[in-house]
């Protein structure tokens, strides 16, 4: 194994898990999140412009992940337009398991848009500063603050309206 590959494996070992967690928040699918992260690492490896500094590498990787998640949603929406289907009926057992695992917050996070999910994850899951979040998202700090504010407002409304009335019969 040459130096490059060793250096890159170190990045994979360090950032693999947080990257998959990040991707999972964005797409809400563990298998898809793993695929996206694998693809993101492969692209970073194949690109001559990949930064070598750890912090910048993470920003670069997270941006690839966000772009791939965006592409995924784009494909999903196009597919939905081509094959319109009715609402997906959730298996009650699966529903119960999910509720037991993460309660209302997990569902509340699904109502957020992609950019909002990115911002919320980076700010509250990875405890990044606004500046770091902005750098990873490729946005200005003011924009990030607005996105986070709107995301929190959405979460507040959703949680306040659904926690009282949301009773799922199993």
């Amino acid at each position: 194994m040459n130096d490059d590959q060793a250096w890159f494996e170190q990045r994979v070992r360090t950032l693999g898990r947080p990257a998959i967690k990040y991707a999972n928040v964005l797409v809400h699918d563990m298998n898809l999140a793993e695929e996206i992260v694998q693809e993101a690492f492969a692209r970073a490896w194949a690109s001559p412009t990949t930064p070598s500094v750890a912090v910048e590498f993470r920003s670069y990787l997270y941006r690839i992940i966000a772009n791939l998640a965006h592409d995924y949603y784009l494909r999903q929406s196009r597919r939905a337009m081509l094959n319109p289907q009715g609402p997906v009926l959730m298996d009650p057992q699966e529903m119960a398991e999910r509720r037991a695992a993460d309660d209302a917050m997990k569902r509340a996070l699904t109502i957020l848009g992609l950019r909002e999910r990115q911002a919320v994850y980076l700010r509250y899951f990875e405890d990044l500063s606004v500046a770091e979040t902005a750098r990873i998202m490729g946005a200005r700090q003011g924009t990030v603050r607005v996105i986070v504010y709107r995301a929190l407002r959405k979460l507040r409304r959703h949680l306040s309206t659904n926690e009282v009335s949301d009773v799922v019969a199993i």
């Binding site: 490059d4 890159f8 999972n24 793993e34 492969a42 930064p51 899951f125 929190l152 979460l155």
Partner: protein, 392 residues
């Protein structure tokens, strides 16, 4: 409703829970490394921290160069377009009817070499803008001297030395005067007693008359004003009852007429007639300023008034040279008519507008001698630049 702080606390709590319950990613990382092992790596991998920015700057530089090239090409295209436009403006040219082209709308030559031509850019209405050009080499080269947004002038007058000059506007365009051969122009005002300038005629660059409705509470009266200093000062010389003078006292008289002066004391006023409007048609007639009044002129009875497209030919006093524009339109042209009475020393100049109407002007001079002594070589140079052709 929970507060924002509570939501943030819950988010952080959920993040901890999310982290604790998140399954192992060791297998995913192994799969990633396996994929990396079979993925070709780029030849120039970035290893030093500053290299990324070096590569980025290369891209930015390339992008900037591409943008600069695009801007340069755009600027070049615009420049060429403007240059062509400027060249077009510096060379008067006669256009094609029905298209947005230019038409000669005024002409004044003080010698075979030096003269001015006005051309108006428009399709049918000749609404402008109008550009005044000057030539000092018989039409070989032209200089753009004055541009105004309006129809072509009714007159261009210059003194024999080509220094004092004026342009008489049409359709509300004011007078312009120059005292340096057209290098600089001043806008002159009409007399304050007039509401509008309906008829203007200048004998030369200094002496002229203007007829318009007076600013009076009683409507229907026109004033005639005279200037001898190139429209600097005006003196009222007459007050006309428009209904009487322009319509035999009939209803519908208006200041639609043509005004012309032969010299400082003799002039003609030719009231226009309008058909198809319910207003009685009046036979064409002339008024002379110094003689017995109305003069019958039956030779013009066949003509109907319309806008003048062509301009009267300009000939020297001794008739050694003459310049005439011939506008080639659909069914139009400029025609010269010899006066039936040679003693009047007048010939009639009629311009057939492309809309089918006729218009006529009277030009002092002896046409036959002018025809005989026509200097074709000089006019050819005008023709070559303007697209016109000499008469005869």
């Amino acid at each position: 409703m929970p507060t924002t702080t509570e939501i943030e606390a819950r988010l952080r709590g959920y993040a901890e829970q999310y982290d604790q319950e998140f399954p192992s990613t060791a297998r995913a990382e192994s799969r990633t490394m396996a994929r990396i092992a079979i993925t070709p790596r780029p030849l120039a991998r970035v290893t030093e921290p500053g290299r990324k920015w070096a590569l980025a700057s290369v891209r930015v530089r390339s992008l900037a160069i591409a943008c600069l090239v695009l801007i340069a090409v755009g600027a070049l295209a615009i420049g060429v377009s403007r240059l062509r436009s400027a060249q077009r403006h510096n060379v008067p040219s006669i256009g094609v009817p029905g298209k947005l082209e230019v038409y000669p709308t005024g002409m004044e030559f003080i010698s075979a070499d030096e003269g001015w031509i006005a051309e108006t850019r428009s399709s049918l209405s000749l609404a402008g803008p109008t550009v005044l050009f000057r030539t000092t080499d018989g039409g070989l080269t032209w200089q753009n001297q004055l541009t105004w947004d309006g129809p072509g002038p009714s007159q261009i007058r210059f003194g024999p030395d080509g220094v004092q000059g004026l342009v008489v506007g049409r359709g509300g365009v004011p007078l312009f005067t120059t005292g340096d051969g057209g290098a600089h122009w001043q806008r002159q005002q009409i007399p304050s007693q007039l509401r509008s300038a309906d008829l203007i005629y200048f004998l030369d660059a200094r002496e002229g008359w203007i007829v318009g409705y007076l600013n009076e509470t009683t409507p229907g009266f026109a004033g005639v004003f005279h200037t001898t200093d190139g429209a600097q000062h005006w003196t009222q010389t007459a007050r006309l009852d428009v209904g009487q003078v322009f319509s035999y006292g009939q209803r519908g008289g208006s200041l639609q007429a043509s005004l012309m002066f032969h010299d400082s004391s003799t002039g003609w006023l030719n009231p226009g007639t309008i058909s198809g409007t319910g207003i009685p048609v009046v036979e064409p007639h002339l008024y002379m300023t110094h003689a017995t009044g109305r003069i019958s002129r039956p030779t013009l009875a066949e003509f109907r008034r319309s806008s003048i497209v062509c301009n009267a030919p300009k000939c020297s006093e001794d008739c050694t040279w003459c310049v005439l524009f011939w506008v080639r339109l659909f069914v139009a042209g400029c025609h010269l008519y010899v006066s039936p009475d040679p003693a009047q020393a007048l010939y009639y100049y009629a311009a057939v507008a492309f809309l089918g109407g006729f218009s006529e002007r009277l030009v002092p001079g002896i046409l036959r001698s002018a025809e005989r002594r026509f200097n074709s070589s000089r006019t050819k140079s005008v023709e070559s630049k303007s697209g016109s052709r000499p008469a005869g």
